[in-house]
Symmetry: C2
Subunit: 342 residues, 2 copies
């Protein structure tokens, strides 16, 4: 029996006690209420199908048990951001952790803006996990709401938020060094938009550092900067193909772009790894789906989501550790890089 909402008053009337008495019993408060009455109330709750209204409880406890996850809209308005499964994988891991702790996840695939902050505040969100890079101004507004926030993949300098990320510079340093070790010296770089405090900037630094250490000059014509998407990777093929056969290796800062590039190169009859050695970044599930499998920089995507939630939960519970969590990276060898014989 759960036809229209059974109220606390219904329960009280059914048992013949005051609503205060029902409330005391349900909230486990110490009051001089007989065991008989307690039992009658608990039976009535079960029989009538009474569910305490969480909104009323929230108002009292000031906690919504709702976590906001902000996924940046990277793909333009007409395409789902989940076309890049990186976001789906992170979201899945946050949701799983949150559910196990009795929280639920409200997603937003719009950018973090005034409107979102307003909604977060109105909804009384317990906390927010924001993925990606945002302007200082909006982060400062977010900070004013006093809602606990954890950032994923941001290099912003604020002390207000904890941050979970990987060592992005080290990631592409490893990728570039890997190609150098395999005999390549004419190595290009295909990346997303390089912006201040963004992961692409760090990854570019790692690429440059590895070249420098090996005494290799960077060729600016082999830096291909585009949006992080399959389609942009595919379209980059025209430019990448022109750099061949002089360029023999390419560090790509996102698997989704590398996969698009492989598809695009096919139209130019360029084969990976025969004509171009390619290394990706992220280790998306689908990097393994391809033939040849994509050699790539592994980042523990699911762990990123889980750590971000753990950090957020600490903050919600008033135990903020105030630390950046930096997850390790490593190379996953598959078949997209060929060893050059010198």
């Amino acid at each position: 029996m759960m036809n229209n909402k059974v109220t606390l008053k219904n329960v009280a009337d059914y048992v013949g006690v005051s609503t205060a008495t029902v409330s005391y019993v349900l909230n486990g408060k110490q009051q001089s209420i007989s065991d008989e009455t307690k039992e009658a109330i608990l039976n009535a709750v079960k029989e009538l199908g009474y569910y305490p209204n969480m909104n009323a409880k929230e108002l009292a406890s000031n906690r919504s048990q709702l976590i906001g996850v902000v996924v940046p809209q990277t793909e333009g308005d007409n395409k789902s951001v989940f076309a890049n499964s990186f976001y789906g994988e992170i979201l899945g891991s946050i949701e799983r952790e949150a559910r196990q702790q009795g929280y639920q996840v409200v997603i937003s695939c719009a950018d973090l803006d005034d409107n979102y902050i307003r909604i977060a505040y109105e909804r009384n969100l317990s906390g927010i996990i924001a993925i990606g890079v945002y302007q200082d101004e909006i982060l400062s507004k977010l900070s004013e709401t006093k809602i606990p926030v954890v950032l994923i993949d941001s290099y912003c300098k604020t002390q207000d938020f904890d941050n979970v990320r990987i060592d992005d510079e080290q990631g592409s340093y490893l990728a570039t060094s890997y190609l150098i070790r395999k005999g390549h010296s004419r190595i290009g770089f295909l990346c997303g938009h390089i912006q201040e405090n963004g992961v692409m900037q760090k990854r570019f630094q790692g690429y440059r550092k590895a070249l420098e250490e090996a005494g290799i000059n960077l060729n600016p014509q082999w830096i291909f900067e585009r949006k992080v998407s399959f389609e942009d990777g595919r379209l980059a093929a025209a430019h990448v193909a022109k750099a061949l056969p002089e360029m023999t290796g390419l560090v790509c800062t996102a698997d989704i772009m590398a996969i698009g590039l492989m598809k695009g190169l096919h139209a130019y009859r360029v084969t990976v790894p025969e004509d171009l050695s390619l290394i990706g970044f992220d280790d998306l599930e689908i990097a393994n789906y391809l033939e040849p499998g994509l050699t790539t920089v592994h980042q523990a995507i699911a762990e990123k989501g889980a750590k971000a939630f753990g950090s957020l939960l600490n903050e919600i519970n008033g135990n903020r550790k105030q630390e950046d969590i930096v997850l390790p990276v490593s190379i996953i060898e598959r078949e997209s890089v060929k060893e050059l014989t010198r």
Copy 2:
């Protein structure tokens, strides 16, 4: 100035009016309040940074503007359901539509169960979109909550919920007929678990019907029934490879399985389409990422999500149309099917 929550009372005190007056003005109710006072209140709201608490508003309006989306946990506990981007793509389209209408999306990747219904009820969800097949018992409990519900991809017989799906039988009928038209007659079927009222049952019927109409006997040894996942597709390769070269074509009821199969077949040196013509189902983004591109049955995944939200919104607004929405399917030709010369 938004440091700790500014209340209605703060605004009232600031202006020197009663909280009732502030409430009247903010809710646009007709009361004899001077324009001067109205302006003072609105200025104070802005100045103090007052946000009405949505939970309080909800309690009054009985609407949370929260939509629950239930994504079935198909991949086992240790893997994100978003490893199959079908769910990410649907979720993305629901979120986009919802956001444009002022709703937000709470996701749950656990199965629809008593616990979920309890949470939905407690949260006062405005509506629920449930993807996949569920037991009658749980659907009937869900119906008792009176929360508007729309199902995606269910063939359950209840009149209580609207349903958005594709013509699944027609989809694999088209796929099978396509292979037959390309000269194949020894055609297998790789599918997910076939269950009552599930999409796989319908897709199996379409396959059988196309064979029957063409006077082709179904070979039960070429029916491969597994879980819908990349890994299960990959593992199916051992069995599929054994059926070659007698079997020349395969209808696969999910792109994600077909992609796993292609990867798995590579280890057996079986090439698509040279050694096996393969047709998928779903037209996931990644079906186009592969080389060769996967010929498949297109379903408008984003439209599915959008239609489901539209249908739910009608019901929330008391305009339920009580209709099943069936979206069309079509064949997308890529390179995974070879024409056989007879």
